[in-house]
Symmetry: C2
Subunit: 194 residues, 2 copies
């Protein structure tokens, strides 16, 4: 392989592999050599395409938004019962927490590990939470309009509290809590919507 001459590769596929590694190992815990092995590209290709480790990490958070978060938001925008859609979105995070790889959520992980000392990443992560909260709020407003949610509840306040609970589930996912405990968290949280 000629150094300096990028191999041909699918950028999205390579980003997906980097994302999986950062998600599992964290930012500091992921070494450049491991990234190169996982991404199956040369060091030069990585630098040419993604810049340094930090800028690659930023790109993987954007990729996570475009895949995982988009999936959760799509649940909220389905036809049918908006309230059931909100429950499904919470269920999405319950499933994340039940994953036996104990990876939690890349956004929550990066919030804990990287955000406090990196304002640019903190802004991207805060913006990602706002997207989720905005989707929840719209669904709760639709639920209220349909009479599925009591008129005296605040869709905005509940969306904030639910987003916060989803972050909590992401952290609980770092332990092997077992399906019964996760189900109790899910059921207890949904009492907000009664």
């Amino acid at each position: 392989m000629t150094v300096g001459r990028p191999r041909e590769f699918d950028e999205t596929e390579v980003l997906e592999r980097a994302m999986q590694l950062f998600w599992t190992r964290g930012y500091e815990g992921t070494r450049l050599a491991e990234l190169l092995t996982a991404m199956q590209i040369s060091r030069q290709s990585l630098y040419d395409t993604f810049g340094n480790k930090r800028s690659l990490f930023l790109r993987t958070i954007e990729h996570y938004r475009a895949t995982q978060l988009t999936h959760a938001l799509a649940l909220l925008e389905r036809d049918g019962s908006p309230l059931e859609n909100v429950k499904a979105a919470l269920g999405f995070f319950q499933d994340l927490a039940a994953d036996d790889r104990c990876r939690g959520c890349l956004v929550a992980n990066a919030l804990v590990e990287v955000a406090p000392h990196d304002p640019e990443i903190a802004e991207l992560l805060g913006d990602t939470l706002d997207l989720l909260q905005g989707g929840l709020q719209l669904a709760l407003e639709r639920a209220q309009a349909k009479g599925e949610l009591a008129g005296d509840k605040s869709p905005r306040g509940l969306a904030q509290a639910l987003t916060n609970s989803m972050l909590g589930l992401a952290v609980n996912g770092k332990l092997r809590r077992g399906p019964a405990a996760l189900r109790e968290i899910y059921d207890g949280t949904l009492v907000m919507l009664d």
Copy 2:
């Protein structure tokens, strides 16, 4: 200073300093040299008294339990209204999230960073969450007995959901969310208890 001859120091005070550093910088992000500077003890004293970096970290989690967690549990055990006590405990985590050092909570930080690859630390952290959840459940049972909480609610399920929300607040504390957003999370979460 003679190597191998421990200086005299207050173990709790020294643990407190190590805890503050781990809390702010994380486990991997804290270097041994920084620990020695913060703890103001020699390398030999650290090894003699606390073992290696990992066993020191375990001791700081125990110290965190004995200080921060004990403070939250004490709020739950005060005389007066058990329901107000539960609200005060949630307020304790709201204050933690509002801290402009963006440190979050040592337990949540360690859950994200260390638990997935260290079963002993994971068990200690899970046990710490169980203590908090147990305290919340007892307070909610007392609230129910006093008629402050509806009889059809599950103190256990709500305690699980509230503990999860407290973890969420700890993660939100890594961002500068601002008091208004944190207040919305607090209010929205308490809707569970209505």
